[in-house]
Amino acid sequence: MGTVITTSLFDDAGFSVADAEEVTAECDHWFQHVDATFSTWKPESPLSRLRRGEIRLDDVPGEIRTVLELCRSARTITGGWFDPWAVSDGVDPTGLVKGWSAQEALRFFIDGPARGVMINAAGDIATLGGPAAGETFHVGIVDPRDPHRLWGVVAVQDAIATSGLYERGHHLWNPRTGSTDVEFASASVSGPDLAIADAWATALMVGGQSAFERLERTPDYEGLAIGDDGRSVSTSGFVCSPVTS
């Protein structure tokens, strides 16, 4: 499936559009490279070949080992609620690759032309700086009951990931029971790293209340989950304000 990644640059002091285009072109190349490496759709990608057992872990690009290591950490951190190994056909780190690649892409913009950068990988967002001096990025969270509306607005320091059923239907499953039942319509998690936030968002969807309690005890990451009935639950540090026009 295709994914759209957008990169937005902000600076109230101005910047060179030519410089911005140069650095976003580097960013483009990075995502193309990630796609070529990690696509489970492309049979020739190193990850696909690894999954088929054609190449060994020692022979894959270092990025794949990095991501699998990150998956292992995420599985531990989330208490197993995020588990890329809980699939029938070998490891599938796809759920984490998008967030990881967006987080990594921020490196192109450090000391770059603009003060603020927001990379939005199909709804999962990694940021650097802010929209203007002394300002923090604000991100609207989609209302899972009506994806054309916003549920609320969150101030985002670093990253925020959202997992939900409303766009892709049931693509989540419980790694412990194999069940596809979920407790929430969507879950959003903010924190310093988009890949980990992404894993947590998935964990909240499948792990429900017990994953939530675990997240509450985890420093730096905060979560919000919205139910089909419109009710929400969030960790104590998650601040979501109403949408203002």
Partner: protein, 215 residues
């Protein structure tokens, strides 16, 4: 406060699939002619193909002297990697409220699943995939290919709870359109977070179209 131009570069990537390595030639322009002064518009049309594809235009109606946004998305043609570059230039006037409506510049034929396939190597051919039920309704995807290279993928039909969207929306533009529309609901946000806009139905219809084309 004068704001610098916002540059938006969009990359179309298929982590679990599609499109990034195949070059769509659709040109998607989101964007109005801003009515506020001080707007710079960057366009880089590179219609690599022969004019295939669809154009979707989003037209924000300015609420007073509010925000104007112009976005031009260009899919570069050729046989290489498909890359979408989107350049957005907002201006911020004194006002706030912006509402967005979407106006299709090109309306699709809402052909039922049917195949138009020619077998001449190197020729352009297309196939419409099976109509597949997905979370919101029924979707079918049209794939155009030249030789063994996919040159365009569009949504041939999209039925959404009785609200038939009779516009052909380049599937890659949907998330951008959605984001633009959502962001326009509030002047105080810079982005929109949500679950990925991809659907299993899209993928399944696509696969059926690819099979028809022998790809």
């Amino acid at each position: 406060m004068k704001r610098a131009p916002l540059v938006l570069a969009g990359t179309v990537v298929g982590l679990t699939g599609l499109l990034s390595f195949r070059t769509p030639t659709a040109s998607v322009s989101l964007g109005p002619l801003p009515t506020t002064p001080g707007t710079t518009t960057t366009t880089s049309p590179q219609a690599g193909g022969s004019g295939r594809g669809t154009t979707t235009t989003t037209t924000p109606h300015q609420g007073g002297s509010g925000q104007g946004t112009t976005t031009t998305t260009t899919h570069t043609g050729g046989s290489g990697q498909g890359t979408t570059t989107t350049t957005t230039t907002p201006t911020r006037g004194s006002g706030g409220g912006t509402t967005t409506t979407t106006t299709p510049a090109t309306t699709t034929t809402t052909a039922p699943p049917a195949t138009t396939t020619t077998t001449t190597p190197g020729s352009t051919r297309s196939a419409i995939g099976a109509s597949v039920n997905y979370f919101y309704g029924v979707i079918s995807v049209k794939v155009t290919a030249r030789g063994t290279t996919i040159t365009n993928v569009t949504i041939a039909s999209l039925s959404d709870g009785g609200n038939f969207r009779s516009q052909s929306i380049d599937n890659q533009s949907i998330p951008i359109l959605e984001q633009q529309a959502l962001a326009a609901q509030s002047a105080n946000i810079q982005g929109v977070g949500g679950a990925s806009y991809t659907s299993a139905g899209f993928e399944r219809s696509l696969q059926s179209a690819l099979t028809q084309l022998g790809l």
